[in-house]
């Protein structure tokens, strides 16, 4: 019955990232390796945040506490990943034909996508598992659109992580601290907005997340050297 819900949500959340993976990452082995490495870094950040959450018993029931520290851990590990990649650049150059130092944005993008994939999987798999069952949300609380909103939020987070990666890496390269602050700040902001879901303010949550996504996309586009006319060119075959 609600197998439709399951597939609908899965396509919605993971369809675009999968397309990005297929056409931009899958082409080169080195990118796949970096994608997996970055996903692993995200996992470690998750592990650390859970250790913290587990250790601080009195605050376990306060969502905001775990959330903020989780975001900080993720950003810390994004920095760590950046640092490791820069260290590894020369070594990577030897095993691949691509000049890693010349395509830093590409690797930033791949790292962000890895982060996004992992966080998306962890966020949605639990929900997807329950989406299969015969029931939907709403008996006690929530709405029947819970699953679709969850999927949309997850998609937003995957894309956000991707663009945050691009902006963050290039900002560190150029020592542009404003952009670093934007990444960390917007990550905190969007995550904290999801706390409003308790009050069923789904529209506010989702809208704010997508607004931040658009700003970050534009920023990433600019950072990567894109110009408005490129967009037009993209959509018109010459």
């Amino acid at each position: 019955m609600t197998v439709m819900d399951f597939f609908g949500c899965a396509f919605l959340a993971f369809g675009p990232p999968l397309a990005m993976f297929t056409f931009t990452v899958a082409a080169e082995p080195i990118r796949i390796i970096i994608l997996i490495a970055s996903a692993f870094f995200w996992l470690i950040s998750l592990l650390l945040s859970s250790v913290l959450w587990y250790a601080v018993v009195p605050l376990q029931n306060h969502l905001a506490f775990g959330l903020i520290f989780s975001v900080l851990f993720q950003e810390a590990f994004r920095y760590l990943l950046y640092w490791v990649l820069r260290k590894a650049e020369r070594g990577l150059d030897k095993v691949t034909t691509t000049h890693v130092a010349d395509s830093r944005h590409v690797f930033a993008y791949v790292c962000g996508l890895g982060f996004g994939f992992m966080s998306g999987v962890f966020a949605l798999v639990n929900v997807l598992a329950d989406a299969v069952g015969p029931g939907t949300m709403g008996l006690r609380q929530g709405t029947e659109y819970f699953f679709i909103i969850s999927a949309a939020t997850t998609l937003c987070f995957i894309l956000l992580h991707t663009f945050w990666g691009v902006v963050f890496f290039s900002a560190l390269d150029r020592k542009n601290w404003g952009q670093v602050i934007w990444v960390v700040g917007s990550h905190l902001f969007v995550s904290c907005m999801t706390l409003l879901n308790v009050y069923q303010a789904y529209i506010a949550t989702t809208l704010s997340a997508y607004v931040v996504l658009m700003i970050t996309t534009a920023l990433a586009f600019k950072v990567a050297g894109g110009r408005p006319q490129n967009v037009v060119q993209c959509f018109s075959r010459q």
């Binding site: 439709m4 597939f7 675009p16 945040s49 989780s70 975001v71 709403g138 995550s191």
Partner: protein, 662 residues
């Protein structure tokens, strides 16, 4: 590590769209605790009970409260939201309505909800009008049509294609009701466009067709990987002889009562008026006869008390008892082989209440004991009448056996809830306070029967009238009321506690008297056997617990919980139908009981909102189109365009964020 990840799992779950520290499943579903399920049973030719027709995964139906005939008609003609689960009260839980539901193809389940604010129904008996119709001495297809159980609806004798559950938990009933009113009831013609309150019932039964097929399927010889599909019904019979059985020649008066009732739902078979009254009277009689006969010596006639199990299912206990007697296998009493010829007469305690009594008597014209009982109880004799109880088996074996049933009914049961879930303390008007105060009532009536029968038996066995002191007969009444409390109110009672080993944990609930499957010992049988041993005990003094066990005696808690070592001659014998032990028995012959119970995995009910088709479609379309568009965009439009960041010239073939034309 795994633990941390587990918590991490939870944590990130919080981070993205978290609502509370529980799984989403817990917010979607409301599991129903304390519901009783209807399950499947087989005999040699048919299947009975409930199971969902299609799948193991549970049957889902939109809730519809049925309060009158109009609701049924609406379900039949106007219902639009697919499959329904019907919620009924006792007033609508009738054969006609259920058969109507069976013939509709959009019913996926029935929930019977007892509404405590409504009065009990006039009558509710799921049993046949003639219980055990096809077995015993006088079967019901005789020329004289006898409706022993006039209110019987034969619900037990049908195969229902949907699951049925019963609940008397008022919180659940109220939850179902309010969920229905909130989500389903308004604008009911267009309800299919909304998410609707629905129930999922899981009660898939593994067995099918009949006992023969399901046993064959479980057979090791045919299957390399045998799975159990069904189990024969059965448990144990309980016996207690007044005096040791002789090695050679015996003359035995058999005093019997039934030990089991049945009902449509698992775990609820109170059998108050049906079984408990007769059972308690037998226990009291045994107790009193034992007190009277403390020092006397039996000369020619002996008395054996037996409690027969599985009688509701074609007389399992009595037919097995007789089979064992005939085969010379019956040696539960002191290891001596008793024979069927040793039985002089059979006295059975049937359903008993206060008021008029009847003696259903067969071949008892010249029997002194029976005559005296008739006089003492002022009972009305019904010559040649054989109610559907254990005597049927004895008379089938030997039609000229002297056999009587002492009961409160004539040709029709007075019990309105025979073998139903409502046959409980309430229906008997049993009041624990009046029982304690020793005012006249059920306990007094039963005690009177017990003392009269015991005194007459004493006279017959020992040839002299017993010396009766007021105290001991008074004590009988006390024990009767205590026993009634044990069986009707809660098993956590003084007598069961006293008759168990010290510190035994007894369930605080009414015992279910359903016989169950033979693999699993029935708690009710065990407790009754221990109680009989306690009541007819021979105390062995100066024994510690260890010494007691060393001498193969029984250590019980005793009334004061001080510990008591007793010597008892109470014993058990298997009560499983001979059909399952005879090699090559023809299951369709109808000679012995062939009842089996299906195996099941889960019995559960949960409530949730079933999403509307519109929302499902929206999710699917949105998801597919987003995924589709992103693939097409990346594929078609960007092919042939080298996209990538615009730093330092070439960036290989990366089609990342920025694009630049070739």
């Amino acid at each position: 590590m795994a633990k941390c990840l587990h918590y991490g799992y939870l944590l990130i779950f919080f981070v993205i769209n978290l609502v509370a520290a529980e799984r989403i499943k817990d917010m979607i579903y409301m599991n129903f605790e304390g519901v009783a399920a209807c399950f499947r049973r087989h005999n040699g030719t048919h299947q009975f009970g409930c199971s969902y027709k299609a799948s193991r995964s549970g049957s889902v139906g939109v809730i519809h409260l049925v309060e009158d005939e109009d609701d049924i008609r609406w379900l039949e003609h106007n219902a639009t939201a697919g499959d329904y689960t019907v919620v009924l009260t006792f007033s609508m839980f009738t054969r006609d309505i259920l058969l109507q539901l069976k013939n509709m193809n959009n019913i996926n389940g029935v929930l019977l909800a007892k509404n405590s604010s409504q009065p009990l129904p006039e009558f509710y008996s799921p049993e046949d009008t003639c219980p055990n119709r096809y077995s015993g001495y006088k079967q019901c297809n005789d020329d004289v049509l006898v409706d022993w159980n006039p209110h019987g609806s034969s619900l037990l004798m049908e195969d229902w294609p949907f699951p049925m559950f019963y609940t008397e938990n008022q919180t659940l009933v109220e939850a179902v009701r309010s969920c229905f009113l909130k989500h389903n009831a308004h604008d009911i013609e267009n309800q299919q466009h909304r998410p609707l309150c629905a129930l999922e019932m899981k009660s898939f039964m593994f067995a099918a067709i009949n006992s023969e097929s399901c046993i064959k399927r479980s057979d090791f010889k045919l299957n390399f990987n045998p799975t159990q599909f069904c189990d024969p019904l059965g448990d144990r019979n309980i016996y207690w002889p007044l005096a040791p059985i002789n090695q050679d020649k015996n003359s035995v008066i058999l005093v019997t009562a039934r030990l089991d009732a049945s009902s449509l739902f698992d775990g609820i078979s109170p059998g108050a008026g049906n079984v408990v009254t007769g059972l308690v009277t037998l226990l009291a009689t045994a107790y009193y006869l034992n007190t009277l006969a403390k020092d006397a010596v039996v000369n020619k006639t002996n008395v054996v008390f037996c409690l027969l199990n599985g009688e509701a299912f074609d007389y399992i206990g009595s037919s097995r008892f007789i089979y064992d007697l005939k085969e010379g296998n019956f040696n539960a009493l002191g290891g001596v082989n008793l024979k069927f010829d040793d039985i002089k007469s059979v006295i059975e305690f049937g359903q008993l209440t206060e008021g008029e009594l009847f003696l259903h008597s067969n071949n008892a014209q010249n029997d002194e004991v029976i005559k005296k009982i008739q006089v003492a109880l002022n009972a009305k004799i019904l010559e040649g009448s054989v109610p559907p109880t254990s005597v049927q088996s004895f008379l089938e074996e030997r039609p000229n056996l002297t056999a009587v049933v002492i009961s409160d009914h004539g040709q029709q049961f007075k019990n309105k809830y025979y073998n139903g879930i409502l046959d409980d303390a309430e229906s008997l008007n049993f009041n624990k306070y009046s029982a304690i105060l020793m005012s006249d009532g059920l306990a007094t009536a039963l005690a009177k029967i017990a003392t009269s029968v015991a005194e007459i038996l004493y006279e017959d066995v020992f040839g002299a009238r017993p010396f009766v002191d007021y105290d001991s007969s008074h004590l009988v009444e006390f024990y009767v009321s205590e026993m009634l409390k044990c069986y009707l109110e809660t098993a956590k009672c003084t007598l069961f506690q006293a008759a168990s080993s010290p510190n035994a944990k007894l369930a605080n609930q009414v015992l279910s008297l359903y016989v169950g499957v033979h693999r699993v010992p029935n708690t009710a049988t065990t407790l009754t056997g221990q109680l009989l041993a306690f009541l007819t005990r021979e105390e062995v003094s100066n024994m510690t617990e260890a010494m007691c066990y060393e001498n193969h005696l029984i250590w019980m808690a005793g009334i004061n919980n001080t510990g008591l070592c007793i010597n008892s001659t109470v014993n058990y014998s298997t009560a499983m139908s001979p059909a399952f032990i005879i090699d090559g028995y023809d299951m369709k012959s109808g000679m012995y009981s062939t009842w089996t119970e299906s195996i099941w995995q889960t019995l559960s009910v949960r409530m949730f909102l079933k999403p509307s088709a519109a929302t499902e479609r929206l999710t699917m379309i949105l998801g597919s189109s987003v995924a589709g568009v992103s693939f097409i965009l990346k594929n078609d439009k960007l092919l042939g365009i080298r996209c990538g960041p615009h730093i330092n010239g070439t960036v290989g073939s990366s089609r990342g964020r920025g694009c630049s034309s070739n």
